[in-house]
Structures are given as structure tokens and as C-alpha cells.
Amino acid sequence: MSRTWVFVSVVVGAFVSCVSPSRAQVNIPIFGPNLRSYPVAVSPLRNLSQGTPSDVGTRFADIVSRDLTIAGYFKVIDRAAYIEKPEASGYTAEASAEGGIPPINFDSWSVIGALALVKGAYTVEGDNVSVEVRLFDVFQRKLLYGRKYRGPATEIRRMANKFADEIMKQFTGERGPFDSRLAFVSTRDSARNGRLSEIYVTSVDEGDLKQLTMGQTVAKSPSWNPDNRSLLYTSFKRHNPDLFSIDLLGGRETLISQRPGLNLGGKWSPDGSLIALTVEDNGNSDIVLLDRTGKLVRRLTDNWAIDVSSSWSPDGRQIAFCSNRGGTPQIYVMSADGGAARRVTFTGNNNTAPAWSPKGDVIAYVSRLDGGFNLFTVKVDGSDVHQLTQGAGDNEDPSWAPDGRYIVFTSSRSGRKKLFVTDAAGASQVQLTHGGGDDTSPAWSRWLE
């Protein structure tokens, strides 16, 4: 699939200048526990290409609706309640100069309870599509934000995710995380006994979920190259847990480390120059740094204990990891140059799977308390422990969204293990993946551009 589409992103000056330029007219307090249902209507886009039937407008609205639902702050009003139909209504606050398209009837949106409205139109041009879409404040009847996109029709998902990220920026001041991808491990296609697993990749709205590896063995721990073009993962296909890199486009694989025993939990440094990896010496696991070719650069831990699960700080200077050197599994932090490790978790006797937030201030991890596994966050200095999940199955494998406000994780709360998303306060939790088998070990990529 060609990636040569170009976004023509134009906040159209003509209609923005008619509106006072102040941004974020509405500001939702992000972590307020009660303000999680800001009602927004997302209308399917109007098809301006008469005679070319297309589902682009509906798909765009579906994806934006799904993203806003996952975001947790919005309540997307059910489309069945919408009075205005896209093919017979306008998509601007003022009447359109051409074609006699009326302005939006804001009354018909406020009457169904919408405080914000997404409306727009598109034109099909062969394999490409031109989309213009706008976000309105219904009560004030005015435009908050508008954008144009143009590209292959196959890229509708990216356009919709980018627009959802912009909606979030309008309401919260920070860009949303949806123009990104998730990699994860699943047994969904494993025959009968369901023990073999492969790596899958999907957009956050699950719409383009695809199998990436075909090893027909056990695959573990995918993690993203910061350029989003490849994944590191561990595979048993050569009868040893070896570290591979696999290209997303084309699926070409490179064997990075085949040290006897474990080659586990490979993680690229933020600048893409080093790989942190757990290796083994006769049963004893330790964390080392490799260069891009898999050559040893530095050993970081050297003790009898289990040392696993590296997670880089966003500035690439430190690594959080899990070790039971103190007797029980706990989270530690050490310099990427080597040297002493500092313990960070002191509550509970089983703390694993650290994930360093892209914002740098907080580490998410998994703690076993009262027999169940739950997600927690702790500040890097060890203070301020917060519990994010409770009383809902086992919750493991945290991975942060690129905006540092959401965490994807594995939960068994609905039966088989599935991926869920929570916000960083634990207030809003949404199931992301569905279907058979167990979905585990999610990794959230950076923004796609």
C-alpha cells in the first residue's frame, strides 16, 4: 500500500476569521470524577459526489465516535436520535455559497442534548477522497475547529483518528492518542488448544486488526521501534526464546539476539540506538544493552536475582525494571549508564511490569494484592501510589499511550484475556479487543507522524 498520500490540512481561513479565535471555549476538567459524559453528536459526513455511493462518511463518523468513547470524557449520542440527515442538511454554521446547502440547524442538535457536534462532507475522486470536517459548539452555534484532509480512501481511518485527536486538543488542551497503533500477542488463531501465539497489530479502534507473524510457535513481548516501522519481539521458532525485529510493511524479520536461553523483553531506547534486553546465564536473568545489530554494549545488572521487564524513561537516561533482588518482585530504577539501582515500590510484595509514562513523572506497574493483579501508578521518586483497577479480574501488562494520559492493558474481567484502555486516573475503562483466544502484552506506538 502506497504511503505517498499527502494531507492538505487547511484550517480554512474564510470561516475561522468570522469567529473569535479563542480556543478551548469549553474546557473539561480532565480528572474530575463526575465530568465524564460531555454529550457530543458525530454525524456521518455528507457525500458531495452525487452518483458515487460511498460509505466513507459513515466510516469516518464511526471511527471518530469510537475514539471519543474510548477517551472516556465524552458521551457520543446515539445516531438513531439525530434529526438532521447528512444527505439533506448542511455542515457549516453559515449557508454555503454554492449548491444551496443550508446551514446547520443547531436547534435540532441541542434538542437531543448535544453540546458539541461533528459535521462535514467529502468528495470521492477516483481512489482518493477529500474530506472537510468541523467541530461546533452547539449552544453558541459556532465553529470551534475545522480541518481538510485529502488522500486515498484507504486512509480514512488515519484522517478520522487525527480529527479525534484534534477534538481532544480542543477540549483538553492536549492532543489525543488515537493516530497510533497497538501491537499485541494473541492466541485467537491458535488451533484447538490455544497455546500458540502470534503478534497482531491494530488501530486503537480495532478496525484494521491484522496478524503480523506466522511463526506457528509462541511469540512474546512486542515493542515498537520509535520510528513505528518495526517491532521487536521474542519467538520460540528456533527452539529458544530469541529476539527478532519484524518490519510492519512486508513482514521481513531480522534475528537480533540468539543468546542461549532468554532473549526477552527487548525495548528500543527512545532515540532508537540501543536495545535493553533480558538475557540469561544458566538460569540467571540479567538486563543488558545491545546495539542495533545485537552486539553487547553494556551489562546493566549482575546479580543472582531475576531482573526483567525494562522500560526506558522518555529522556533515555534511565531504565525501570522488575527485580526480586530484595526477596520479592519489586520495581527498581537505574541509570542507562549502569550503576546502582534504586527501589521505587514499597507497597505490596509482588510488583512487576513497569511502564514509564511518556510524561516522565510516573511509572505504571502491576501489583498483586489479595490474590488479584491490578494496575498501579507511582511517582518516579516512589511517592504517591495510585490504584487504577479494582475488583475486575486480573489486570496486567500496562503500556502508555503517546499522550501519556491513557494506558492499554490486559484484563481478564470479561472472561478471556482482552485488551482494555484506562485513563491515567483509572476512572474510565473501555474494552478494546474482542473475539476468541487471549489477547495480551499490548504495546502502544508513538504518534504515526
Binding site: 484447538r192 497455546r195 500458540l196 533480558t278 536473568s285 526483567v308 486480573d394 495480551t440
Partner: protein, 174 residues
């Protein structure tokens, strides 16, 4: 007891079939199982490695000529029962000086996948070290960890978890 004898006989047949087809210790279990798979039924795969069994749609093996040993949660320590079993396993190995063994380390489903892979490695290594201390030549023993990936049972009960916290011994050809 009868079952154990049957397992030994079957294992002997499989070892012979496997021994015909492989020399590399890494590929031993796989090519052996493939070579013997032509006429071998499920019983014949009884002592193939857990990964091979998984590829054939079978649950991982339990026992064989060498009995599994079990571990406490989050631990790679050998308790008295494990040491007793290992002494028996060691004796079998001394009686079959041509046999090589791949020791698999396994965990129950709880906890991080990575921690469990590391713990499985420790468990397999602990069993190997003890067998070596008993006089089995180290070059007859290899280890591999499967962490929580290849459980015998999948229920969320302590009874099942206990079964999964194990070292499993796969007898390979000469």
C-alpha cells in the same frame, strides 16, 4: 506402576525413532517427532517436548520416563519431594547413559509473562544443577523456559496452578 512401565516402553520406542533422525540437541525433539510421526499415534508423542505437542494440538506432556517436579509459587527452590523425585530421575539417567534430557521450566498463569519466563529458566536450571550434583554429566542436560506459555491445565484454581509450576523432562535421542 503399569502406566509407568508403558511410558518407559513407549519412551524407549520413541527414543529409538528420534535417535535415528537427529544429532543436534537444539533440533532433537522437533525432527525426532517429525521423523517418528508417520506411524505414531498420540501415545507415541508422549515424551515429545511441550512445544512439539502444542504444535500438534496436544496439551503439554506430563511425566514420561522422568517424573515432573513441582515448585512453590514464585520460587525456584527444590523442596524435599522435588529432591526425592530428582534422585529417582538421576538414577534413571545413570541407567540410560546414552539418553539426553531437555529440562523445561514452567510457571502458573499468574504474574507477568516476562517474570515467569525468567522464573521458568531458574526452575529448569535448579533441576539441572541438582542432577549434575548427583553425578549426571552436564552435557547431557539442556534447559528451556516456557514460563506460563504451555500450561498443562488452564483452570484458575490453586490445584491447576500447582500442576503448572513444574520442571518437565524431555528425553532426547543420543
Amino acid at each position: 506402576m503399569g502406566k509407568r512401565l508403558l511410558n518407559v516402553i513407549v519412551a524407549g520406542l520413541l527414543v529409538a525413532a528420534v535417535g535415528a533422525g537427529c544429532s543436534s540437541k537444539k533440533k532433537g525433539a522437533e525432527t525426532g517427532a517429525a521423523a517418528g510421526a508417520g506411524g505414531i499415534d498420540e501415545t507415541g508423542l508422549g515424551t515429545a517436548g511441550s512445544m512439539d505437542r502444542a504444535k500438534h494440538g496436544l496439551a503439554p506432556g506430563e511425566g514420561g520416563p522422568l517424573t515432573d517436579i513441582h515448585y512453590a509459587f514464585d520460587s525456584a527452590e527444590l523442596d524435599e519431594s522435588a529432591r526425592t523425585t530428582l534422585r529417582d530421575d538421576g538414577n534413571w539417567l545413570k541407567d540410560h547413559p546414552q539418553a539426553k534430557v531437555e529440562i523445561e521450566g514452567h510457571c502458573d498463569e499468574r504474574g507477568t509473562v516476562e517474570f515467569n519466563l525468567a522464573l521458568g529458566a531458574k526452575r529448569a536450571s535448579a533441576a539441572k544443577d541438582y542432577l549434575v550434583a548427583l553425578g549426571v554429566a552436564a552435557d547431557r542436560l539442556t534447559t528451556i523456559s516456557y514460563g506460563e506459555e504451555l500450561p498443562i491445565c488452564q483452570e484458575h484454581t490453586e490445584e491447576c496452578w500447582q500442576k503448572n509450576r513444574r520442571a518437565h523432562f524431555v528425553v532426547l535421542g543420543e
